[in-house]
């Protein structure tokens, strides 16, 4: 995975923590630098969490505002981005609770969840890949929240187990158990889809 524990430093000479230290001293330009470094990834996590692009973007903005207001409290005990993700996820939870009905946004925003079909594949393969992707997206969004986040953080966003447990404030054993359950549920959904596809093609062939 491209990010992992090197996520904070990718392409930057100054570490997040050093920039955050400047921001703690009231340096707005330093804080803006942190926003630009982490907005895309935080948005991606919150988009998976909420399933709604607009909601994810608003929660991302609120998270950064809260982070700025609390930057004095960031003492560098955890990495800046795990601290930020925690704020972002809590913000998304708060917003979901305030929403009429009190739950998460139900449907995946398919327009904004980018589709990356393999361009070398033929049109039929591309269509199959897109379909499989949809099955995966839906299976992930249907996961209970406590299972979805471990899978998103570890298996999609590529955080290490220790970074993801830090974000979720979970013990490693609990995190791994949830991650395993999440993977098994998604795997089953994909298996069901593939089995259906096979029986479809058999019935078409007969």
């Amino acid at each position: 995975m491209a990010f992992g524990s090197g996520r904070q430093a990718t392409g930057h000479l100054t570490s997040d923590e050093a920039v955050a230290e400047q921001a703690r001293g009231g340096d707005r330009a330093a804080f803006e630098e942190l926003v630009r470094r982490h907005a895309d990834r935080l948005y991606a996590v919150l988009l998976r969490y909420t399933g709604d692009a607009e909601e994810a973007e608003e929660a991302t903005q609120e998270a950064f505002l809260r982070a700025w207001r609390r930057i004095e409290g960031f003492e560098g005990r955890s990495q800046f981005f795990t601290w930020l993700y925690r704020i972002g996820i809590n913000e998304a939870k708060r917003r979901a609770e305030r929403r009429p009905g009190g739950g998460r946004v139900a449907a995946a925003d398919e327009g904004r969840i980018e589709r990356v079909a393999d361009e070398r594949a033929g049109p039929r393969q591309q269509a199959e890949q897109a379909e499989l992707r949809e099955v995966l997206e839906k299976a992930i969004l249907d996961l209970p929240e406590s299972y979805r986040l471990p899978l998103v953080l570890r298996d999609i966003e590529g955080l290490s187990t220790s970074e993801a447990t830090d974000v979720m404030e979970l013990k490693e054993a609990a995190f791994k158990s949830r991650l395993h359950r999440a993977r098994m549920i998604v795997r089953e959904a994909v298996d069901r889809y593939l089995a259906g596809g096979e029986s479809d093609s058999k019935s078409k062939g007969s």
Binding site: V35, A39, L132, D155
Partner: protein
């Protein structure tokens, strides 16, 4: 070993293996556990299939990563909106 004993051992290994597929794939088991699961999946088609499909799933999941880019500059929009609000908040605090 008699067939009865072997079957019992295999069933016990199967129950033990099921919650450990992820740990096996992630390399989180001890060497001894890793060997035990490796041996078991060698004789258990169900565990072999589960592990293979989990591996396929794990290979596919990173491709779901959402990557906003030049056509959807989330970072730029966020930075502009956040810095505008910070400025407004601190401006109004300064007035009081």
């Amino acid at each position: 070993m008699t067939i009865g004993w072997r079957r019992l051992r295999d069933e016990r290994d199967h129950r033990w293996a099921r919650p450990r597929y992820s740990a096996y794939i992630d390399g989180d088991l001890t060497r001894r556990q890793q060997r035990r699961l490796y041996r078991h999946q060698g004789i258990c088609p169900e565990c072999r299939r589960m592990i293979a499909s989990l591996r396929t799933l794990l290979a596919a999941l990173p491709s779901l990563q959402v990557c906003p880019g030049w056509d959807d500059p989330v970072a730029d929009r966020t930075a502009e909106a956040v810095m505008r609000r910070i400025e407004a908040e601190e401006g109004s605090r300064g007035e009081h």
